[in-house]
Structure formats: structure tokens, C-alpha cells
Amino acid sequence: MTYTIRRIVLLVVTLTLVSLITFSVFQVIPGDPIRIMLGPDADEEQVATLEKQLGLDKPLYMQYAQWIGGVAKGDFGQSIRFSKPVSELIVDRLPVTISLALMSVIIVAIIAIPLGVFMAKRQNKPSDVVFSSLTQVGMAIPSFWLGMLLILYLGMTIKFFSISGYVPWSISVKGALGSLLLPAITIAIPQIAVMFRYVRNTVIEQLQLDYVRTIRSKGITEKYVLFKHVLRNSMIPVLTVFGLIFAEVVAGTIIVEQVFGLPGIGRLLISSIGSRDFPLVQGIIMYITVVVVLVNFFVDILYSILDPRIRMT
């Protein structure tokens, strides 16, 4: 319990620091949100009026105080660029990013776990070496390039894939899958490599442990040993990697949403940095941070349930 409380306190500290870092960075970044929005043809009178309306003529520390005060009341403020509440903008885009991230994690799981177990049994045989190298190549390809190649060679040839943006699930489940599968694969490929390696090494480690030797010496079949004992004991540490993978996947959505033109949170974040939309950047980063930290938090809790040996203090 104290562990849980400490985790929550840490979360709050992290979030406060995150907001302070974002805020201070934006204090030194040159560029005026109103001018960026209006471009070179901006009417000076209009610029002045808008800055007054948005409170941008106030000193920055007051803007921050106002913002933090709002957050305490659950109000993340107004986006400068979109003149809409930040929370509304984030909620609007959640379905895209959540679907994308979860699809990627699922792809990683259903490919990397069986393959890792399978290759652990074939440790250092040619097929293992070849596949290990292949996954490393998967990690080495720049994600936006991989996305482009997938669009070019799969998106254009297979009718199922839709490549011009997002089709909501409510309109068509098939359409949503078609629009999200390629980007999910793009995000998943480097993570498959990470997961595969981890599963493979954990299973190899387990296979070398004493209990496996004991069971083996009793003459029980290899398949049984692998599935009944080794796999179960391996899955527990593998679960913790999911926390890390999830953070990577969330980071992966940022560029990939850009490449595939998906209206998700990552694309919103990139455009809001470019447009210096401080309240929006702050809101999105806070949101992502909370989600990533919470997912890791639950993974830890789950870990303690699955493995009673861990005593959390």
C-alpha cells in the first residue's frame, strides 16, 4: 500500500516537473502563436486584438499560474490554434491513437511471443541466427521510411488498406482496420524485435534453470516442460516489458500518424509545437505522461499478483 502511495506521489511530482519543463522551454522558444497562425499577411490591428483576447499580452508567469489554476479545477485551458478546449481536442483524437497503440501492442504480442519461444528452442541454430538478425534490421529502419514503403507496396496494391486517413470504427469496422493496420504494423515492427529478443532470452534462461533439469530428468516430454513450466515462468518477466513497449509504441504513433495522415494525438502534438500552441502542447504531454506512467503502474501491480514472490514494500 505504501508502495502504491509512493507511486502516486511520484506521479504527481513527475507531472509537475513535466509541466514546468514544458513551460520553461516555451519561455525561451522564439515564435508567436498568433503570427504563426495568421502568416505573413497578418493585420497588425487583428494581431493586437487577438493577443488581448487570449491573454497573451500578460507576463508568462501569470499565464502559467492561470493555467495551473485551471488544471487544478480540471480545465486544461483553450487551444490558441483551434480556439477550442484542450480537453475536447484530446478526447476527439483519443480513439485513433488508442486503437493504433493497442493494435500495435497486440501485433507485437502475437508475433513476438510465440516466435521467441520457438526460437529459444532452436537457440543458435541457423534459423535462430537468421531471425535474430532480421528483427535487428526491423529495428534499424527509420519508421517513416518503413511506413512509406508499406504504403507503396501494400497500401496501393491491396484494396483492403485505406491510406487516406482514418475511418472511425462507428462508420465501418472493416474501414477502421484497413486504415489502422498498416500504421500499426509500422509501429510494431521495431518493437517485435525488442520483445522477441526478450522472450527468447528469458525462455533460454529458464531452460537452463535447475528445476527444468529436474523435471527433464524425470523423463517428461520436452513439449510439456516448455509449455507447462517454462512458458508460465517466462511470461511473468515478459509482462513487465509490456510497460516499456507501450511507452515506445506511444512514442512511435507520433511520427507514424504524420506519415499516414491519421488525426491522432501525436499529429496534434507535432503541429502544436510548430504553432507554439502552449496550452495544447502542455495538455497533450501531460496526458501522454499520465497514460504511460499509469500503464506501467498497472503492469507492476499485475506483476505482483502473478508472482506472489515479489513483496512490494
Partner: protein, 274 residues
């Protein structure tokens, strides 16, 4: 079994070193010789498929892609080296002090590091670029700063572990200065995970530069950069696919080389895998 294990390790090491030394030789050569002038334009000769004169074809200004790939190795090594140097130096220093001193200082430093790690990498890089402005040097610095928290964590855990060891405690007793203990005594003993991290960070810097270039914010012309070339080639993906493969494969191989190297180092230095 053992010889097989060894062979598995060596494959990573051999291929990794082979790839990286090829790029290193290309870089050194580029100082003395490139088949064509790297920046010379010939608009009439733009987007020409690979041929005997231009081995990898020409880009949208009629410049020789092979020569630019060759010179691009300089940019790649520059960015990687600067980023890794900054990351490893500052990361080790910060993590080392936090781990060795412990207490409140450790708590404060690590909370800040946690907060920095909470940012998705590319976002931290984008924000740093927004502060410094785009360009080769600024990109390298931003990518270096970005890698500090991760390295600090690795360094910290090593220092925490070792500060309780006999050799450290006895040096303390005879009055060796803390800084000397940290960097002359402990550091060599905790360096292998840091070397692995350096190698991985080199690869990560290359990928991050490509990502920034995709967003138009990485290395800027006329410095030839693979990430930039990859971005420019996007427009010709359908009409001149060979254009995109030259920088794409160069980046992939460079990153692969460092990944393989890091795996090899980890296998050699990590006693658990033996």
C-alpha cells in the same frame, strides 16, 4: 554447444564491425575523393536512374547521389559522435553523482530525469530544436541532451551497486577524494553497460535525425544528410524508387551496425549470458 554460442556472438561482432568499418572507410575517403563534386548541380541531368557515370543516379538538382551518400557518412558520424559524447559524459556525471552521493540529491536528480524520460523522445528533440534552431550542430546537441536521462539511470544503478563494495569503502577510509573514487575507481568497473548504451544511442541518434529530417527540422542543406535525402526522395518514390533506397539502406545499415555491435559487446561483457 559452446562453440555454437561463440559463433552466434561473433556473427554480431563480425557483421557489425564490417558494416561500421565500411562506412568509416567511406568517410575517410570522402575527404580526399568523391566521384563527383558533392554540391555541383546539373539541372538538365536531374533524377537520372543509376548508370555507369552516376552509380546511384542523380537527385532533383542533378547532383550525384553516390557522392552525397559518401559525404553523408561524415554528417552521420558527426551527429552520432557529438550526441553520444554529450549523452555519455553528462549522463555518467549526473547519474554517477546521484548514485554515489545518494540521499536528497539523488532523489531530486532522479525525479528530474524521470520527468525528462516521460517525454516521448522525438518530442523532447522537437522542443530542443525549437529552442536551438535546426541544423547539424544543433541537432547533434539536442539528440545528445535527449539521451542523458537514460544514460544517467544506467550509470546511477552501477554506482549504487559499487559504492558498497570493499574496494570503494577502503579507498574512502584512506581518504581518497570522492571525485577520484567515482571516476578512477568505480567508473572503469561500471563502464560496460555504458559502452553498450553508447552504441545503442549512436543508432538511436541516427534514427532520430531521420525522424527530425522527415519533419524538415534535422540537418539542413547543403550539408548532405541521409535523413534529409530520404525526405527529399519521398517525392520520387513512385517515379524514381532507386533514389529512396540509397539513403534508406545507408541509414538502416549504419543503425544495424551499431545495434549488432552493442549486442556483441553486451554478450561479451554480460557474464549472465555465458
Amino acid at each position: 554447444m559452446k562453440s555454437l554460442l561463440k559463433r552466434g556472438k561473433n556473427i554480431n561482432l563480425i557483421i557489425g564491425l564490417l558494416i561500421l568499418s565500411t562506412f568509416l572507410i567511406m568517410m575517410l575517403m570522402s575527404f580526399f575523393y568523391t566521384p563527383h563534386d558533392v554540391n555541383a548541380m546539373n539541372i538538365a541531368n536531374k533524377i537520372k536512374a543509376p548508370n555507369s557515370v552516376h552509380w546511384f543516379g542523380t537527385d532533383e538538382f542533378g547532383r550525384d547521389i553516390f557522392s552525397r551518400i559518401m559525404q553523408g557518412t561524415r554528417t552521420a558520424f558527426f551527429i552520432g559522435t557529438v550526441a553520444v559524447t554529450i549523452g555519455i559524459t553528462l549522463g555518467t556525471l549526473i547519474g554517477g553523482v546521484a548514485g554515489y552521493v545518494g540521499g536528497w540529491l539523488d532523489e531530486i536528480i532522479m525525479r528530474i530525469m524521470d520527468a525528462l524520460m516521460a517525454f516521448p523522445g522525438i518530442i523532447l528533440a522537437l522542443m530542443l530544436i525549437a529552442v536551438f534552431g535546426p541544423g547539424m550542430v544543433n541537432t547533434s546537441i539536442a539528440l545528445g541532451l535527449m539521451s542523458i536521462p537514460g544514460i544517467a539511470r544506467i550509470a546511477r544503478s552501477g554506482f549504487i551497486q559499487h559504492k558498497e563494495f570493499e574496494y570503494v569503502l577502503s579507498s574512502k577510509l584512506i581518504g581518497v577524494k570522492p571525485f577520484k573514487i567515482m571516476f578512477q575507481h568505480i567508473l572503469p568497473n561500471v563502464s560496460s553497460p555504458l559502452i553498450v548504451a553508447a552504441s545503442i544511442n549512436f543508432a538511436a541518434a541516427m534514427l532520430a535525425e531521420a525522424g527530425l529530417s522527415y519533419l524538415g527540422l534535422g540537418v539542413q542543406p547543403p550539408d548532405p544528410s541521409w535523413g534529409r535525402m530520404l525526405r527529399d526522395s519521398q517525392s520520387y518514390l513512385a517515379t524514381a524508387p532507386w533514389y529512396t533506397f540509397a539513403p534508406g539502406i545507408a541509414i538502416t545499415f549504419m543503425v544495424l551496425g551499431f545495434y549488432m555491435l552493442s549486442n556483441a559487446i553486451r554478450d561479451i561483457t554480460d557474464p549472465r549470458s555465458n
